[in-house]
């Protein structure tokens, strides 16, 4: 469990940067448009940029404090960094790059198995290559592995998954999460992608024009996204598989059976269903191409931008649907009313 307490300001040319937050928990996101100061936060925390004033405390002990002139050098902070551009050492091959931090970690701190990691990041075929002969995505993976192997007490990741193809990305995320969880490495995750953010973090710091403008749960950030149109809110459902039936996969979720057209190989999985993919019906519709019809109860109806969010209770599980204003009238949506949530089997997206 990490406890981080930050209050910093920094002037870069004519760009004024400042932030003040404290957070507890393993995962913290940083979200904001291009040029809003996300990478700057990373540089300040890692000790690569000296703040003008303020303090950084990690787990209670100060690693920077302008008042008492404390300023731990980067290597003493044990804060790992995955840069936006890989910045691999050009004079070493892939293997030596990967092991650079590992070798500098005391044996009792080496909590990650090299072979595990190499496999997870699919680095095996690259090990004996020179770094100048890697493709863009390959570089990024090596950089990620290099930082992980240093087993730092906090990892800062600056758009680490950018440049990876989607397949690889969603293949890496669960491994990352698993590593981070197993070894209890907290991290701060910078990304432009709401989805990566949802999957990787709980709480998110928002930046705009150099200022930290607020702190929200990644949940809330996603709900707010519902109103702004790029994809809406995504319900994340972790489900266990029951059986396969006629090309369809039947999963168990909250005491009900959910029917998916795209299951994958593993027994459990993380699936995404977008709020806009949940259609609400007053009565059980006949002859629909949709396979899942869930009996639900409305918990809350709220506005999100120009949409209406409907929070549903589905045998104890929560689902978020999004409808338009007139539907609220037509269906008589109000807390407590019974409703059928219809979801197409193909609307689920397996994340991992």
């Amino acid at each position: 469990m990490m406890k981080i307490d930050v209050s910093l300001s920094k002037r870069l040319g004519d760009f004024d940067w400042q932030a003040r937050f404290s957070a507890e928990g393993g995962q913290l996101g940083v979200f904001g448009p291009s040029g809003s100061g996300k990478s700057t936060l990373m540089n300040l925390l890692a000790g690569l940029l000296k703040p003008d004033s303020g303090h950084i405390r990690l787990d209670g002990s100060p690693i920077f404090e302008s008042a008492s002139s404390i300023n731990l050098p980067p290597e003493k902070r044990r804060i790992g960094v995955v840069f936006q551009h890989a910045h691999l050492f050009p004079h070493m091959g892939v293997r030596r790059n990967l092991l650079y931090g590992f070798r500098r970690t005391p044996a009792n701190e080496r909590r990650i198995d090299t072979n595990d990691l190499i496999e997870a990041l699919n680095l095996g075929p690259l090990l004996d290559r020179g770094v100048k002969r890697l493709s863009g995505g390959e570089r990024q993976r090596v950089a990620l592995g290099r930082t992980l192997l240093a087993c730092p007490r906090l990892i800062l990741m600056d758009e680490p998954l950018t440049g990876l193809d989607e397949g690889l990305k969603y293949q890496i995320i669960p491994y990352l999460k698993q590593v981070f969880n197993r070894f209890e490495i907290p991290y701060i995750f910078i990304s432009h992608s709401l989805n990566e953010m949802r999957l990787m973090t709980d709480r998110v710091l928002e930046f705009a024009q150099g200022e930290m403008t607020g702190e929200v749960s990644s949940e809330l950030l996603a709900r707010r996204g519902m109103g702004t149109g790029q994809g809406g809110y995504s319900n994340l459902m972790e489900m266990g598989r029951l059986r396969e039936d006629d090309g369809l996969y039947i999963y168990r979720w909250g005491g009900q059976e959910i029917c998916l057209s795209n299951g994958g190989d593993q027994d459990t999985g993380m699936f995404e269903i977008m709020s806009k993919d949940i259609t609400l019906f007053k009565r059980h519709p006949e002859a629909s191409s949709a396979r899942n019809m869930l009996q639900c109860r409305v918990v809350k109806v709220f506005e999100a931008g120009n949409r209406i969010g409907v929070e549903l209770d589905c045998h104890g599980q929560r689902l978020m649907s999004q409808v338009v204003g007139s539907a609220v009238r037509d269906l008589g949506l109000e807390p407590g009313s019974a409703i059928i949530a219809v979801i197409k089997a193909s609307a689920f997206r397996r994340l991992y």
Binding site: A46, G47, L48, P73, P74, E75, R77, R78, I79, G80, V81, F83, H85, H87, F89, P90, H91, M92, G93, Y100, G101, R104, T105, R129, G130, K132, R133, R146, T147, A150, P152
Partner: protein, 228 residues
């Protein structure tokens, strides 16, 4: 071809020995000096820089005199060394020191230029991966300055082969003992008919430094290849 006398051969081997020793001994110091000049925040950097450049600005003979002043038996350093039974001047060690001092600015400047071009991000990356500054120095800055160091070393080697002024003062021109190729050439040019032999010795110098150049290029290539 050229019929070199035994003292000529001694001069040739002495020259090679002096140039190699001077270059090898200077390398770590040159590297440290360059590091200080590029990366440290010392207040006296400009001063250090000019101090290092001094031997370049002064005529080598003057450098020789200044060295003689401190290393001679009357000089403070010479007196100290004499106490432990070491005599520098008029030995081949003096030739090494003369070459070192005269070539040092060239070495430092070369390494410096290389170091200045190292991407800061790589240094930052190594620090965040747990490397102390001296670790970063050895594992990132040193190898990334590799080519510049090689270039500086071959520059210094060549300069050492040609060094005359400071050497003749500090080491003397004693055939077979401290007479390096340039000093032998000096002797020949003031001897009737010595021109041919002087030319022969020049050619040997050229061949030696060409050899080092080829070696250097080879190393650079292997270096690159190691990196792939």
């Amino acid at each position: 071809m050229f019929e070199f006398s035994p003292t000529d051969w001694q001069a040739i081997s002495l020259s090679a020995q002096v140039a190699i020793t001077a270059t090898a001994v200077s390398l770590p110091f040159g590297f440290m000096a360059a590091y200080l000049l590029v990366f440290s925040r010392l207040p006296g950097k400009a001063l250090l820089d000019s101090l290092i450049n001094l031997p370049l600005v002064l005529p080598p003979v003057v450098v020789g005199y200044l060295l003689l002043l401190s290393l001679g038996s009357e000089g403070w350093l010479g007196a100290m060394l004499a106490k432990v039974g070491i005599r520098i001047i008029f030995t081949w060690k003096a030739a090494v020191i003369a070459s070192m001092v005269v070539g040092f600015p060239l070495l430092v400047r070369s390494i410096r230029i290389g170091m200045e071009q190292i991407d800061d991000h790589l240094i930052q990356a190594s620090r965040t991966l747990g490397a102390h500054w001296h670790d970063t120095l050895l594992s990132v800055i040193l190898p990334l300055s590799g080519r510049a160091i090689l270039a500086g070393a071959s520059l210094m080697f060549a300069r050492s082969l040609g060094e005359f002024g400071a050497t003749i003062i500090l080491a003397g021109n004693i055939p077979g003992v401290t007479q390096t190729i340039p000093l032998a050439i000096y002797d020949y040019t003031s001897t009737p008919g010595g021109d041919r032999m002087a030319l022969g010795l020049c050619l040997v110098s050229i061949v030696l430094s060409f050899g080092v150049l080829v070696l250097n290029e080879g190393l650079v290539r292997r270096f690159r290849k190691g990196v792939k």
